[in-house]
Amino acid sequence: MDKIIGLLEKYYPVYLQGLWGTLWISAVTVLLGTVLGVLVAVLRMSRSKALNGIAGAYIEILRGTPILLQLYFFWIGLPKLLPFLELSDTQCIVVALVINASAYIAEIIRAGIGAVDKGQWEAARSIGLTETHLMTHVIMPQAVKNILPALCNEFITTVKGTSLASVFFVGELMTSYRSVQAATFLALESLTIVGIIYFLLNLILSRLLRVLERRMTASD
């Protein structure tokens, strides 16, 4: 216990920096992942068999392989594929995280839209709404209620998922653990600190999200 407090006193800027890294990487991942995920979901639901198939394969491959493998793949592959961009390790890893999240988010969106009663589509069409108005005014407002809670869960999953980025020494919480452990050889103590930070972070997040969810269902 003393050692933990000692570590905190001496190294708290390292942990704070790690926390900041975890937060911004998660936020960027979920934000860009959602944008990309919407795109993939739109393709997945398109009438074109080819687009549909490509999006389906994209989702299946990303959900069917380990995320750590994907991180390695992009970390090694992206600089080779796009050398002129001179991507940093962090940028490669964030790209990989965004792409990984987009697959899960695309499925969340698709399921959320799929859960809207078929009768709603038919009724909207029967009064002569265009397909655009049908989506913007009838389907999406109802789908969002299904999508948001799952998207919030995805955010928490992402927060934990970013810890894998420490393998590549990208500055986030797990990397802070590794830095402090390397400097002090106090592995368990440093792990405990990082673990508590993760736990508190996700606890606060899930509480916040629950409040948000309740607001949304209340307006229904």
Binding site: E122, A123, S126, I127, G128, D220
Partner: protein, 244 residues
């Protein structure tokens, strides 16, 4: 002869290898009230849904006022605006108030000014006794009230024909009457109506013509008196003996 509103020519529909409609040809004229009766699974709903292309016909043609609406080049939304439809499960929009349910399509698709759309919606709501529910959300409504809302939502587009698919089948018995009364009122106003129903007494009372659809074809059609008192086709006789 009054103007024809809907005409089908040898309309067929398959779901995979299942032939649901096997060639339906009929004409609905302006002001006519036509009831469709028949056993469950006979293709009544599918027939109705082909008329506004909620289902794409596999073969044959559907004409709305002489225009073939199965033509891919046409804007089907425009036609659907003139063809109101009411479903068994109401399908009101839960994310909008009663008033918004009604004004949505007129404002978005017909560019009716909001104030005017609201006024017309209120007039419709008064007509079906729902004016005090205008600002409520549909979850606060009973089944009968939801179905009346669904009817005025369709009417707000000033359709030339109304399609009803078993509008009272999902209702508790005590609410059937209030919905049938609204439809009855519509028939008196001269609306062209095609209604699938199991309310045989109602069909007999309001219809100009009754179609008996079974196994994907019109097995028999005629005046309500003829169909209900002296049906000719053996399948009609069998069906009526079971439901009457």
């Amino acid at each position: 002869m009054t103007e024809e509103i809907i005409r089908t020519e040898n309309l067929t529909k398959n779901f995979g290898s299942l032939e649901v409609l096997k060639g339906i040809s009929t004409t609905i004229r302006r002001g006519e009230v036509v009831s469709i009766i028949g056993p469950s699974g006979g293709g009544k709903s599918t027939f109705l849904r082909c008329l506004n292309l909620l289902e794409e016909p596999s073969g044959g043609k559907v004409f709305f006022k002489g225009q073939d609406i199965t033509d891919k080049k046409l804007d089907i939304c425009k036609f659907r605006q003139s063809i109101g439809m009411v479903f068994q499960n109401f399908n009101v929009f839960p994310n909008m108030t009663v008033l918004e349910n009604i004004t949505l399509a007129p404002v978005l698709e017909k560019k009716v000014p909001k104030a005017q759309a609201r006024e017309e919606a209120m007039a419709l709501l008064r007509r079906v006794g729902l004016e005090d529910k205008a600002e409520e959300y549909p979850r606060k409504l009973s089944g009968g009230q939801k179905q009346r809302l669904a009817i005025v939502r369709a009417l707000a587009m000033q359709p030339e024909v109304m399609l009803f698919d078993e509008p009272t089948s999902a209702l508790d018995p005590e609410m059937v009457k209030e919905v049938l009364n609204v439809i009855m009122d519509l028939t008196r106003s001269g609306m062209t109506i095609l209604i699938v129903t199991h309310e045989m007494g109602f069909a007999r009372e309001v219809s100009d013509r009754v179609l008996f659809i079974c196994d994907g074809v019109i097995k028999e059609e005629g005046s309500p008196d003829q169909i209900f008192t002296c049906p000719h086709d053996p399948s009609t006789i069998k069906f009526l003996s079971m439901v009457l």
